[in-house]
């Protein structure tokens, strides 16, 4: 339990020895959910049909994770490292620009 270990958050991973885990497992720093890849939970995957997409951005606030990146007011391709395949984006899309397929078939 030394100070050097307290400063390592963000670098702790599944190979870290117990001595490097922070006291009480405190998570230091914000925005670290991006280091937690939830994409392998998926049983279904979304496919973005760009021809139908009007960039209304309704899918973005509905996504429970951070799987729809936005740049210059436009959505980009899905972040499949984090997409759990919940299908909410496909459900709320008014323009049928997102469809769901079995995980693995999106590639």
């Amino acid at each position: 339990m030394s100070d050097k270990n307290l400063d390592k958050m963000g670098h702790i991973n599944e190979l870290s020895p117990w001595q490097d885990i922070t006291v009480g497992g405190f998570v230091i720093g914000e925005g670290n959910s991006k280091f937690f890849n939830t994409g392998d939970w998926r049983t279904k995957a979304p496919i973005w049909n760009q021809e139908n997409c009007k960039q209304c951005l309704l899918c973005f606030p509905w996504c429970p994770d951070s799987s729809i990146p936005i740049e210059n007011s436009k959505r980009l391709e899905f972040d499949m490292e984090h997409c759990k395949g919940c299908g909410i984006c496909a459900k709320v899309c008014p323009f049928s620009a997102i469809s769901m397929v079995a995980a693995g078939e999106e590639k």
Binding site: M1, D3, L6, E14, S16, P17, W18, I21, T22, V23, G24, G25, F26, V27, I28, G29, E30
Partner: protein, 396 residues
Amino acid sequence: MSKRANMSGNEAISNAIRQINPDVVGAFPITPSTEIPQYISKFVADDLIDTEFVAVESEHSAMSVCLGASASGVRAMTATSSCGMALMYELLYVAASDRLPIVLAAVNRALTGPININVDHSDTMGAKDSGWIQIYSENAQEAYDNMLMAHRIAEHPEVMLPTMICQDGFVTSHAIGNILLEDDDKVKAFVGTYDPEKHILNPEESVGVGPYSIGAYYMEMKIAQFRAMENARKVISDVSSDFEKVFGRKYGMFEEYEMADAELAIVIMSSAAGTAKDAIDNLRARGVKAGLIKLRVFRPFPAAELAEALKGVKALAIMDRSDGFTGNGGPLGSEVKGALYGRTDGIKTINIVFGLGGRDVTVEGYEEVYENLEKLKSTPAEEIPYCIHLGQREEK
């Protein structure tokens, strides 16, 4: 100057809390610990302390208040008994794994089934594996003194574990006795302040507490708790030595009474030790080499020191004030036998469950225990039952 006072155990430990002036107390009343939050709210109303007293709707919430407060980097305390503690069990484990040094004043009372409000140790023994440090007190003075040491043990950077200071319901908590109350300033100087490096209210640094620990992390977290509990041994010893230097009263992991040449001994905890000491005085006057060990620190368990202290003993009774229905004896019985295994051989040992639900054991009762120990000396080990009960009505 320390001051002579007449106080119940509840009033004594509440005065320790007044002197410590914790930042937050979340508590719910339950007999026999009710008076503690009652005293604290009076201290708040009288402006003697600036504690934020949170009156909650259950003990589950009381411990939750303590968790949140402690995670925000302040001193958080509570008090409870019996089923109230049972309702906290879930959160007790969280406090230990989150390494939040919450301090709890426990007033031991039997757990319900059948309902009973009197002393036994089934409540805190139910929390013996929760990861909390457990310190037991014989009388109001010890409850007060142990509370003055609690924060320094719990908050030590090498420990960071929640700590409960236990005293017996009614026998200690409500009976008024003489105690020495120390000066407020001297207590404050001894206890010191708490300023943890990491907490959730630091605007300069975001901190999250209590993350989901999947299989890849859970075991590492548990090993850290194991190490912290190991570290607590030395810290308890150091803080107790410092306490003796400042206040003059000596505390070890356990107290030895007439143990130097004892052949017949008992290991016992809390208020019952006082009565047993009177029995020993009677027996010693009759030439019986009787002795007693009163365990103060149950977690971490001082196994090696205990085995060393018992090595000259020929017959030993381990006195449990809760049963446990384990098929292998009460919690203290199992711990002490485990401590002796491989360290000392040949002590004839029996586990005695006594005093459940406030059942009194008299001086004569303890004298009977030592008479039985005399017989145990010459009983073949395989004929000794692993556990017997004392003080019940039964057909002979």
